[in-house]
Symmetry: C2
Subunit: 159 residues, 2 copies
């Protein structure tokens, strides 16, 4: 994998149409369509999504959001961290390093990262250097949180 | 569906072995095994799980946790509510009303309920009287929250 371009995705009808090809299509995407239709957001507003195009087609994406230190229940010392979700590469484009390129892009912020991956993707996340967070029921409920720790950051102890 | 017995599941090696038959087996179950092995919890401690047995076999389950009003970001007026996750009926036992029986059991507390269902189960939840919560990115991230409102409870407005 040498030169993959990661783009911040803008909310417009083309992007939202392309999102329909991804398995993890849900309330978030539907609410983006509604907001656009009702002029609650403008065409080409920024979104939390980043993606990779192959020619004209969106073939991989992820969503990334910065949580402020005040709400940090995972890392020590408590600090701003990134939540990563909906990482997905379309089936025909898998195995080319696009998933890794997106994760590397997230890591380049040098903030801790938390994700709640789908079952069966643990092998991938382990290769990416993520580890299981100690499960805490009140915090994690039905999640299977994985975390990535940059230099100097520890996991928060569960009380 | 007439007479289904819902049981509060106790943490012991038999229960934890049976959990392995369910698709949504993850960090939560693994941490329960560890806690039992390390004597952090006692044999037959209470768990957040409820289940239905057919003969000696656990064939359906769900997890239920009461969130205190202080953390309520979904309901109006803000109040204690239930989070429901890992509702699942083993394939050979589906279509017998076990899923509905578990949801009815949760509703009988007469508290609002929030769940984050797997994609493709929306038909079931709609039949159970659940509705989509308005999506709020900072609150919901990658979730597709569905809520159930008892009499007199509204959805919280998103700011």
């Amino acid at each position: 994998m040498t030169n993959v371009k990661i783009e911040k995705l803008l909310i417009n009808y083309k992007t939202l149409e392309e999102f329909k090809h991804f398995k993890e299509y849900g309330n978030q995407e539907l609410s983006m369509i509604e907001d656009l239709q009702n002029n609650i957001v403008e065409n080409d507003s920024e979104s939390p999504f980043f993606g990779i195009y192959y020619g004209n087609n969106l073939v991989a994406r992820m969503s990334l959001y910065r949580v402020t230190a005040k709400y940090d229940a995972y890392f020590e010392p408590p600090q701003d961290y990134l939540t990563l979700w909906k990482l997905e590469v379309l089936p025909s484009y898998q195995g080319k390093g696009y998933g890794k390129a997106l994760v590397d892009f997230a890591k380049a912020n040098n903030l801790p990262i938390k994700t709640n991956p789908r079952i069966n993707s643990h092998g991938f996340w382990e290769k990416m250097g993520f580890q299981k967070a100690h499960y805490d029921m009140e915090r994690d409920l039905g999640e299977n949180p994985l975390i990535w720790l940059p230099e100097g950051v520890q996991e928060q102890e569960i009380h």
